[in-house]
């Protein structure tokens, strides 16, 4: 299906299956493994096994460039799962997602940081992880430094940072990478009051 020009994200009848029982997860995995061995495509699950449930069921929506979409729900409703699927961290069990460009998820902000490396080195590493070229990272480096307000600490290993400093650095990298789709999961409590205002702005 073709995407319209101003559309950046299309979710088409997407569903995600989860299980409370490890055994059914492993059984499904074993089936997929066998089909992969035989070179056959996987089949969407039809019948639920014991403990299984649809964490996300038949979700469809479209997001145009410049639009913001909020997802509200109780704990365990599947908000983070949805974001993880949109960010390409997890696979859906049914349906299709089309993203024009790249999606960056602010779910586990500090995950993937190399604690022994300096803040500066981590900017390059995280930038590369977000698919940015070396030139792109160099171009946005000063902006990240300004936004994170870490001063000389940027050259120290991130293992010496406080949790607040770490979050500020992580947030700044994500924002300055200017992704086409930015996915934010309850993390806007980053830093002190002034920094929070800047993030929201």
């Amino acid at each position: 299906m073709l995407m319209q020009l101003d559309t950046v994200l299309e979710v088409d009848h997407m569903s995600k299956l989860y299980s409370r029982e490890q055994i059914s997860t492993r059984q499904r995995l074993a089936t997929t493994f066998t089909r992969a061995l035989m070179g056959r495509p996987s089949r969407p699950p039809k019948k639920l096994k014991c403990g299984e449930f649809w964490s996300l069921g038949d979700i469809s929506f479209t997001l145009k460039r410049g639009e913001a979409l909020g997802v509200i729900g109780l704990n365990g409703a599947g908000k983070t799962t949805l974001l993880r699927i949109l960010a390409g961290q997890l696979l859906p069990d049914k349906g299709e997602i089309r993203i024009l460009g790249d999606a960056v998820a602010m779910i586990d902000l500090t995950a993937g940081f190399q604690m022994s490396a300096s803040g500066s080195r981590n900017i390059h590493l995280r930038g590369a992880m977000l698919g940015r070229s070396k030139e792109d990272i160099e171009a946005m480096y000063d902006e990240i430094l300004d936004f994170a307000e870490l001063g000389d600490a940027i050259n120290a290993p991130v293992s010496t940072y406080s949790s607040g400093m770490l979050m500020r650095l992580a947030f700044s990298i994500m924002v300055m990478a200017k992704p086409d789709v930015l996915l934010i999961d309850e993390i806007l409590s980053v830093g002190d009051f002034a920094f929070r205002q800047k993030c929201l702005a």
Partner: protein
């Protein structure tokens, strides 16, 4: 001006990777490893330093620990517990075999450990498991290089001189490295499905060193002799040892068959890994 990756449309489907061929899977993984080379270097450095951080003797431990198993066998050989085999001094015979054994066993164990321990982190960061595996392989390569230095010292001290054909050794080891990495990757995925796999593999590897012609030749021991005709560890270790110290490959036919099967198995297992990588994410 660099073109940003963001011009592409990314499509996420449940069976998106199932449609990819073996070649496409291999190409994708090579690109992935190349794109993450800076991370691989930093992760290797970080873990290398972490291995000795806080210790009094520091980096000495990173050189000493890989040598411990070799020095045990060297010591026993010096005490004449092991005789000379196939015209090669006992200490050289064993330390050479043990070095290869740890290299091959590492190729199996590392992918299994990485897939088991890092698939949750990989889900959170989108950091590919292939890059994590390669960073751990760098450590295995370092350990092997340290062991090779000791084996070289033993060769010089015992005057068990290698032949010129021994220069072919790195090329001869390639099929073995492909095979055992393929086995490790395949078992790593299976281990997420059946947690018993890693335990069984550890037991097999602990026995395996004694029944694969690593410490002593097995051609005189009836049933083991027959078993080693199909045991890939024995085939590759025997072929490597014979080319280095005798200048010919013992059981050339077995070696060639095992090498062909190694490449086929590696290709198949890489595709399975590629297809299953996202499926095993987040499962302990």
């Amino acid at each position: 001006m660099s073109v940003r990756k963001s011009q592409q449309i990314h499509i996420i489907r449940p069976d998106g990777r199932m449609r990819e061929s073996v070649l496409s899977a291999i190409r994708h993984l090579i690109n992935e490893i190349w794109n993450y080379r800076s991370h691989i270097r930093i992760i290797f450095k970080g873990r290398f330093r972490a291995a000795y951080s806080g210790t009094g003797l520091g980096i000495f431990w990173n050189y000493a620990l890989p040598l411990v198993p070799l020095t045990v066998y060297w010591f026993l050989s010096v005490l004449r517990v092991f005789p000379n085999f196939e015209g090669v001094d006992g200490a050289t015979f064993i330390t050479f075999g043990v070095t290869l054994w740890f290299l091959f066993a590492g190729c199996i164990q590392i992918p299994m450990q990485v897939i088991q321990s890092r698939n949750k982190e990989s889900m959170k960061t989108n950091f590919p498991l292939s890059a994590s595996i390669v960073s751990e392989f760098a450590r295995l390569l370092f350990d092997t290089m340290v062991r090779i230095i000791l084996v070289s010292i033993i060769i010089v001290s015992t005057q068990s001189w290698p032949t010129a054909q021994g220069l072919m050794l790195p090329f001869m080891l390639l099929p073995a490295l492909f095979l055992f990495t393929g086995i490790g990757v395949m078992l790593g995925i299976l281990n997420v499905i059946y947690n018993d796999v890693s335990r069984v593999v550890n037991i097999i590897l602990q026995y395996g060193i004694f029944v694969s012609g690593v410490i002593f030749p097995l051609y005189d021991i009836g049933i083991l002799s027959a078993f080693n005709a199909i045991n890939p560890f024995a085939i590759f270790i025997d072929a490597s040892r014979s080319i280095v110290f005798q200048g010919v490959i013992n059981n050339l036919q077995n070696y060639l068959v095992a090498s062909c099967l190694a490449f086929i198995f590696f290709a198949a297992s890489i595709r399975i890994f590629f297809v299953m990588e996202y499926r095993v994410r987040g499962i302990n």
